[in-house]
């Protein structure tokens, strides 16, 4: 069973995010780069699946990112992935959802997979649109927001989180699955894993390797970001200075009722 996990490298979510007004892109220099937290859940799901299936199952991590961030990908290998493939090319810069998913799909066709596990969202772009587009380009079924994956006799059986509970859905391989955060807390890499990660392969692919020259980057994108603006500043708020606690409570209740919150 070949399990492939897509991973994005994003600016540390604990740091402050800044947009460059000139390029209209997120500033990625001068901040730590980490694995997109949602993708760590996808990787955890993949590692658990491999442990359950056993045999000669492998977990391969796929990442589209500048080669300079290669070392940030080692954490995935330290957590237990068997190898990684990176699609790196300066021409990929500025790719929108369509162009990104298209390039990724070409690389993933080359890599091959039985099941492709994808985090539900990225911490930087947060479009949530890549998994669906990826499934479309790859021509495979897509089950989203999954909290449990089981594979038996070539059939996949998953539990999908819904607002009111969960659905049980089956499908056939190859398939794309996106993970919910309820799939399980990502494990820590171990020191042994860290010391061994250097020996695991990170294979490099270029845009030429996947034959996508005209469809990548800003030029190959179908959408263009025109402008952006920060959310409006909060109003001054309303300060109530009541006579006593009861009057204060009444004032808060009146406010909430007025806003139809209670």
């Amino acid at each position: 069973m070949k399990i492939v996990v897509t991973v994005k490298l994003v600016p540390d979510p604990n740091g402050e995010k800044k947009l460059d007004p000139a390029t209209k892109r997120l500033v990625r220099t001068g901040v730590e780069t980490v694995i997109n937290p949602y993708d760590e859940y996808a990787l955890e799901a993949a590692l658990q699946l491999k442990e359950r299936i056993g045999g000669d199952s492998t977990v391969t991590v796929f990442c589209m990112s500048p080669e300079s961030l290669k070392e940030s990908l080692r954490k995935a290998l330290a957590m237990g992935a068997d190898g990684a493939v990176m699609l790196s090319d300066s021409s990929l810069e500025g790719s929108d959802v369509w162009a990104s998913a298209h390039a990724m799909s070409l690389a993933l066709k080359r890599i091959g997979f039985d099941i492709l596990i994808v985090g539900g969202l990225t911490d930087d772009g947060s479009t949530g649109a890549v998994p669906g587009a990826l499934a479309e380009f790859l021509g495979v079924p897509c089950l989203t927001n999954v909290r449990k994956i089981e594979i038996a006799d070539g059939k996949v059986r998953v539990e999908r989180e819904t607002d009111g509970g969960y659905q049980e859905v089956t499908g056939s391989l190859p398939m794309l699955v996106t993970t919910a955060l309820t799939i399980g807390e990502p494990r820590y890499p171990s020191l042994k894993g860290i010391m061994g990660a250097k020996k695991k392969p990170i294979d490099m692919l270029s845009v030429a390797d996947i034959g996508a020259a005209d469809t990548v980057g800003s030029a190959g994108s179908k959408t263009e970001l025109l402008s952006f603006a920060p959310p409006p500043a909060r109003g001054a708020g309303q300060i109530v200075t009541p006579e006593d606690p009861a009057a204060g409570a009444a004032a808060i209740l009146a406010f909430l009722k007025d806003k139809k919150l209670v």
């Binding site: 070392e71 330290a78 820590y188 890499p189 171990s190 020191l191 860290i194």
Partner: protein, 386 residues
């Protein structure tokens, strides 16, 4: 004298950086949400070390042959620093545990290594240290607890105080007098605290590092076999001093972690706190404190990493380890006070963590060799024994 050529080449490897990142993530997730309560309650988070052992941090210094990862002193220092940035108490628990493992690897025979090292690295066993007595601290060669021969083994008698990890230890490295007066009469022993006659007399309440366990251990006619003797008879003082040299890198790294936490908190507060219409960081009275803090942090880090790199290169420098500890601990204590000052009245309350950093910093100038002892070691390496 320190070796400039070796020191000039040190760098932090990718693996060390990742181990530091792991320790940071672990501390943020497993310690940070609880630290205020643990500190208030003098709580020793025993299960934290089961988790730390599961990911290999407890065996950071133990060789692969014995179940560890052999990641070396550089990784050890970075891990201790990152833990201390969140909680100085758990940092010293790890530091002392790892120091004893290193002492067993260095001084122990093959049987002792096989007996204890796999337990200290992946076996969920914590190591404790018992040297100090009521009348012998810095004067470690003056201990009075005795080990007397009985048959092949020894009978241990005496009281040890301020034993780090003592209550929760599965093995304690303890020093007893087997011979005449002075350092040459001291031997080191590895004692299982479950051995009849060993008891925890009391746990010490402390100003800081309250998540670290410190206790008095009583040894009342404790019989141990010959396999308990670590190193040769009369080699215990030297053994303890060897262990403490490695430990000093750990304590220096702990001080660096406290200092880094002070800087993190001070920068944040100085940017957010307004006074007279500006963030207080806009005033030189505050910004210069931060400039000095950041500079001393960087200098302390370089000393610690360099001392660790020399130890990893197989050319440890006791002088440099002492310099690192002396400098880093002085800087931590000084700047913890400045960090509190920057926070003003808020800093004096338990709503902000800097009062904890202030309480935690002081011990780094005292244990594993006081700053005065460090200066003696440093001065002697230049002057000789005059």
């Amino acid at each position: 004298m320190t070796d400039r050529s070796a020191a000039a080449r040190f760098e932090i490897t990718d693996e060390q950086r990742q181990i530091a990142a792991l320790a940071r993530e672990f501390a943020q997730k497993e310690i940070a949400p609880h630290i205020a309560a643990w500190d208030r309650e003098h709580y020793f988070p025993r299960s934290l070390y089961t988790k730390m052992d599961a990911i290999g941090l407890m065996g950071v210094l133990v060789d692969e042959r014995y179940g560890g990862v052999g990641a070396g002193y550089g990784a050890y220092a970075l891990a201790v620093e990152e833990l201390a940035r969140v909680d100085a108490g758990s940092a010293v628990t790890l530091s002392v545990h790892a120091m004893i493992g290193a002492a067993i690897a260095k001084l122990g025979n093959e049987l002792q290594r096989q007996e204890w090292l796999p337990r200290l690295s992946g076996g969920d066993t914590i190591a404790g240290f018992a040297l100090t007595e009521s009348d012998a601290g810095s004067d470690a060669g003056g201990i009075r607890s005795t080990a007397t021969r009985r048959g092949d083994g020894f009978v241990l008698r005496g009281r040890k105080q301020w034993c780090t990890n003592g209550t929760h230890a599965g093995v304690v490295m303890a020093m007893f007098r087997t011979g005449g007066v002075g350092p040459k009469g001291v031997s080191a022993f590895l004692v299982d605290p479950k051995t009849p006659g060993v008891s925890v007399e009391r746990e010490t309440e402390k100003l800081g590092i309250r998540t670290s366990n410190t206790c008095d251990l009583a040894f009342d006619d404790v019989y141990v076999g010959p396999e308990a003797l670590l190193g040769g008879e009369g080699e215990g003082f030297g053994g303890a001093m060897t262990a403490l040299q490695g430990g000093r890198i750990g304590i220096a790294a702990q001080a660096v972690g406290i200092l880094a936490a002070c800087l993190d908190a001070s920068v944040k507060f100085a940017q957010e706190r307004m006074a007279f219409g500006k963030p207080i960081g806009a005033y030189e009275g505050v910004s210069f404190k931060i400039a000095r803090m950041a500079t001393d942090l960087e200098a302390a880090r370089l000393l610690v990493y360099r001392a660790a790199a020399l130890a990893d290169a197989g050319t440890p420098s006791p002088t440099l380890a002492s310099q690192a500890k002396f400098f880093a601990s002085t800087a931590a204590r000084t700047h913890a006070s400045e960090a509190l000052q920057i926070h003003g009245g808020y800093g004096f309350t338990t709503e902000f963590p800097v009062e904890r950093y202030y309480r935690d910093a002081k011990i780094t100038e005292i244990y594993e060799g006081t700053s005065e002892i460090q200066q003696i070691i440093i001065a002697r390496s230049f002057l000789g024994r005059l």
